[in-house]
Symmetry: C2
Subunit: 230 residues, 2 copies
């Protein structure tokens, strides 16, 4: 193995990913069961070391793909964690990203090294290794804050969705009920929801209209100083 030598000691640099998903029940987070020490058997966020030839975001996406099979997801930097004892082996600084995916379209696969990978309900989390519980709390707070004034919630839904799905999403993230009529007026008034002229299929009640988020129009409006808000 090649050795790498520096004049001064360096912290190890890793990336970790908090991947949020949503299904009919709950907001979920993607966890990996550790197969090696430290924290063997405990659940933890997917992540790993940053290579010299990749940016931080590339590293986060690569680790996510390697460990969970996920690709082509919304991802954004969250925060960098650098407490002295956060990894018992040595000093490790971790740049943490959070990602949003919709569970329908993104199937996770077992990681190459056969570690467990699973979506876990946020309200009922297992014990986590490292400082990952704290990291998750920061990510949740960010999601809660950001979903109000940036259209990132759509990343958690299929491309075509009903207004009820959208409302439930906001209710789960914000952890409070919303008024149906006020919500529908609010999300439709900015003109960013495109009526697909289709209805959902196979439901045992009146079928709801499907909408999709108009990304192009949003990009245009942004250039004119438009601020998304819900």
């Amino acid at each position: 193995m090649m050795a790498h030598t520096y004049d001064y000691p360096r912290p190890a640099l890793t990336v970790d990913c908090v991947v949020f998903g949503l299904d009919e029940e709950d907001l979920k987070v993607l966890l990996i069961r550790r197969a090696i020490p430290p924290f063997t058997g405990k659940w933890a966020l997917p992540g790993g070391f940053v290579h010299l030839d990749e940016t931080l975001e590339q590293a986060a996406k690569r680790e996510l793909a390697e460990e969970t099979g996920l690709g082509d997801v919304f991802i954004e930097q969250l925060y960098t964690f650098g407490a002295l004892e956060r990894d018992p082996r040595e000093r490790v600084v971790s740049v943490v990203y959070y990602a949003l995916v919709n569970l329908r379209d993104h199937q996770i696969r077992a990681a190459t090294d056969a570690r467990d990978v699973a979506w876990r309900s946020i309200p009922a989390l297992p014990e986590l290794g490292f400082d990952h519980r704290e990291i998750l709390a920061v990510a949740l707070a960010r999601l809660k804050g950001k979903v109000r004034y940036q259209p990132i919630g759509f990343e958690l839904l299929p491309r075509k969705f009903t207004l009820s799905q959208l409302q439930k999403l906001y209710e789960k993230i914000l952890e409070k009920p919303l008024d149906k009529r006020n919500f529908r007026r609010k999300v439709q008034e900015n003109g960013l929801l495109l009526d697909c002229r289709e209805t959902e299929q196979g439901v045992a009640h009146r079928a709801a209209r499907l909408y999709r988020f108009d990304r192009k129009k949003y990009a245009q409006l942004c250039r004119k100083g438009f601020l998304f808000e819900i």
Copy 2:
């Protein structure tokens, strides 16, 4: 010199600081003129390498003290920059902090190695080394966004300040004029401004009342779910 060897190569890890200050004229940022390559003679943000025995925030504060003499300031993590070529010497990842200080109370001193240290007006910046211009843009955007819903603006003022000073601060950061009567009503309605029962001295017109921000009361209110807003 001691050598430090690792199995895999590691990026260098630094911290940089975007220090904002405010005076009668402008919003300013603290810059250092580089005495050594790369970018010799160019201005740059203060910063340096992270030691193994200090957290990221400690590193940022230490560098700030060493290079500018500033201590006891409001400081918060901004973002971590990890583009491949941001430092021409080698791969460097930088965790950037932003700080807010008031220019009256915090005198800067020349750095130990006699590099220039100076407050520079944001509207009239010199050319900056590295990707520091980009970093500054991110910091400004953060300041602009955050000042609306967190009471961080007070960090830029002396402990006792007039309402006009406060209004000018917001006008400079948000880059838009505010209505005097509406502003005064707004900032006073949450009860977080304490009347010092003093007036400013030595002005050639009616002396304004001095106020201070009630940190303790703010902390109390926060625990009850209060959200600051201006």
